[in-house]
Symmetry: C2
Amino acid sequence: MPTTESKADITRERLLDEASQLFAERGFYGVSLADVSGALGLTKQGLLHHFGNKKRLYAEVLERIADAYDARRSETDSISDPKEALKCFLLGLDDGSAVEQNRVRLLVRELLDNLQRMDTAKTWYLKPFLDNLIAMLRRCPGWGDVPSSVCLAALAQIIGAISYNVAAAPTFAKIYNDEGEGALEAAFKDSLAVLVEATLSAPPPRC
Amino acid sequence: MPTTESKADITRERLLDEASQLFAERGFYGVSLADVSGALGLTKQGLLHHFGNKKRLYAEVLERIADAYDARRSETDSISDPKEALKCFLLGLDDGSAVEQNRVRLLVRELLDNLQRMDTAKTWYLKPFLDNLIAMLRRCPGWGDVPSSVCLAALAQIIGAISYNVAAAPTFAKIYNDEGEGALEAAFKDSLAVLVEATLSAPPPRC
DNA sequence: CTCATGACCTACCGATCGGTAAGTGCATTG
DNA sequence: CAATGCACTTACCGATCGGTAGGTCATGAG
């Protein structure tokens, strides 16, 4: 009984994995409970048994992403150079894996969708995560006393470039597939590395 | 009778305007035909009369965006300096107006959604538009013989930063509203101008 | 063995989904 | 004036939506 993960927890993880992928692919409104449960080989009501209702399922998926990001970020604590730590984290947001890409897609959808329900949302899932990133950026040379709005703008630019690329890459690859297979992917990776390095190294704009 | 716009066309434009906004706010699956028609003061079937079915309505909304972008791009033909022309177009993708922001939001949603139906899509709405942008970039000094994958990566980075900012700005503003009202907005705009100028001016990476 | 718990099931429910059928009323045209 | 066509209507349809009620069955504890 003293195992860190009960059998129930493992099942929940499995359900959340599947739900996470489907929500990332088709969005909250594009996925029905029957879709999720069907993909898992159980009935809709079996799924509802675990999460109560659809919104709670979705909320748990988002919270798990926030947790995963926070875990990844705290891993970079072992890197002494703050610039390298931040670079490592940001560039790791798209490591090419389906899991990581689905996280990015889901968060972009969430940003688009929560415009309407933002009034009711008390605290946003990723607020502490964003605060951490800003703190990391401020630890980089030259960024120490930069206003948080400027820090956030710089980070959003990088995260935005990454997120958009994840969202658009399959479409772009399909359209311009005449060129070499990984050419686009490689070009973007290079381009992004330049952007991140330039942003973190450049002295922040003075007012 | 020789008016360039019939009354029917005007009605269609009005319907498409409303549909465009709703699709941008809540996505294809998040908007019902009843939502759109209700917002316009007619019945669901009145709306179907004009567009046949929901997918055609959505497709027309996308086509209209592609047309609008192409019109805006051709306006920049009057600018002789290719770099300034491209800069003008890119920075105009978010002029702060609701109409323009909804276009950006809708296209991000489309990029996320069409992953699943991309096989059936013969030609993508924005292909010619993207080709034009690449051509514009190649006219800038130093970009003449850069592979299209590298051009596309550079453009996607800029467009991605803009798009993500449009999607995230309301959320970020809500979370960090302690600071000055337009501080975030201004910081984004500055940051973006730097990125665009740096990208277009910098010699493209050599292989 | 008994009994409670939790994981899952079948069987529903009302509401809403996208879409069809069959008109009604109005404006234009010959 | 008759007739055509278009904008838009009411009245439906079957399918599917999220969610509820109540039961079955295995496991594990007392």
